[in-house]
């Protein structure tokens, strides 16, 4: 599968998300995703490959989320300044 960053993805449960950013952290890829129909549904997920299928696994590890959050924030700000 190609890189999902800046893509519109459709999940098996029919929900659609925009992948706002993806980050490679300690061998794993994490995505910041935004629900197309619900702006309140923003989350960081782990992008995994299971049996050849790409799956977005919700993150529950608070320490990991705390680590990833500023990294995403920084990336977003860089992207925003590049757009301007």
């Amino acid at each position: 599968m190609d890189k999902l960053e800046y893509a519109l993805v459709t999940l098996k449960n029919n929900k659609q998300y925009f992948v706002l950013e993806d980050i490679l952290y300690q061998y794993d890829t994490y995505d910041l995703i935004l629900n197309v129909e619900d702006e309140n549904d923003v989350k960081i997920v782990l992008q995994e490959v299971k049996n050849g299928k790409t799956v977005f696994t919700p993150l529950e590890d608070k320490d990991l989320l705390k680590t990833l959050s500023p990294l995403f924030e920084e990336r977003i700000k860089i992207k925003q300044s590049n757009i301007k």
């Binding site: 599968m1 190609d2 999902l4 800046y6 893509a7 519109l8 993805v9 459709t10 999940l11 098996k12 449960n13 925009f18 992948v19 706002l20 490679l24 061998y27 910041l32 935004l34 702006e39 309140n40 923003v42 989350k43 960081i44 997920v45 299971k50 049996n51 299928k53 790409t54 799956v55 977005f56 696994t57 919700p58 608070k62 989320l65 705390k66 990833l68 959050s69 500023p70 995403f72 924030e73 977003i76 992207k79 925003q80 757009i83």
Partner: protein, 291 residues
């Protein structure tokens, strides 16, 4: 050059054609020309200052570009290192699992030999008893002995099979199958003592796992889960089996599986510029995590 020439000629004309006592009437002209020179000098100064500013700005852009290139180069280097590490990990894991597979394949050969040996031993006994029965006609004691030998063969093969299943399940756990053993040790072994007629009758209903005669094909499934899955996918592709009944086996029933994607950087750029979404939802989410 042209201007200078005009100025010189003008001065010469003025000096030569204006009498000295009238020079005072030219004072206003001289003052005006002097003022204009002042303005020209001012412009030259500003131009010089602009050039300095331009040079400084160019230097700053060069520095920023160098810094940016340096940052990207470092980021690239770190990413490549990560990929190299991940590749090494995968190679090591692959090598470990290949060793396990080789070990099991080697044990499989021994196991088959052992099964054949058990089968041969018992077949030899059974043949002897059957010959004895024929010789003594319907001897009840010999018939019973034959049944007992057959039963022993069954038990011995079953015990050997169960040992092998435990060994295979250990190997599967070792390669990462942590869940329930994929092969059930209690699986019934269908040793086949049926007549040819019975075999023919049942052939469409049952898989033959008989080890009794040398011609019988050994049909135990020694495949790893990965191999089973690959075979299953092949069967799905060729339409031999129904997908719906095998979703759990394939473990692809994850609701969060990505089934489709489409590059939409254009829309995402708009989102990035939307204060409502970014300031109202995205940043607050990220901040809430950090708290």
């Amino acid at each position: 050059m042209m201007k200078e020439k005009i100025n010189e000629e003008t001065t010469e004309v003025l000096e030569s054609s204006v009498p000295e006592e009238l020079q005072k009437y030219l004072e206003a002209d001289e003052n005006a020309i002097s003022d204009i020179d002042g303005v020209l000098e001012d412009i030259d100064n500003k131009k010089e200052s602009l050039n300095s500013e331009k040079e400084e700005s160019e230097k700053e852009f060069d520095n920023r570009l160098a810094e940016f290139q340096d940052m990207i180069a470092k980021e690239r280097e770190a990413a490549l290192e990560d990929f190299a590490r991940r590749e090494q990990d995968l190679d090591a894991e692959k090598s470990r699992i290949e060793d396990i597979k080789l070990e099991q394949q080697s044990k499989q050969v021994n196991y088959i030999d052992s099964l054949k040996e058990i089968s041969d031993t018992y077949n030899s006994k059974i043949n002897t008893i059957e010959e004895a029965i024929k010789a003594c006609e319907d001897n009840e004691t010999l018939t019973k002995a034959l049944e007992e030998e057959k039963e022993k063969l069954l038990q011995t093969l079953e015990s050997s099979y169960n040992d092998r299943i435990l060994e295979l399940n250990d190997a599967l756990k070792e390669v990462g199958f942590d869940s329930e053993p994929s092969i059930d040790p209690d699986t019934e072994i269908n040793l086949d003592f049926r007549t040819d007629e019975e075999k023919e009758r049942d052939s469409k209903k049952q898989i033959n796992k008989s080890y009794l005669t040398p011609d019988t094909e050994i049909n135990l499934d020694f495949r790893t889960e990965e191999e089973k899955e690959r075979d299953l996918l092949k069967e799905l592709e060729t339409g031999k089996i129904n997908l719906d009944n095998n979703l759990d086996l394939l473990n692809i029933s994850d609701e969060n599986e990505v089934v489709d994607y489409e590059a939409r950087e254009d829309v995402i750029n708009d989102i990035y510029q939307s204060k409502d979404i970014m300031e109202g939802h995205v940043f607050p989410y990220l901040k809430s995590i950090m708290e």
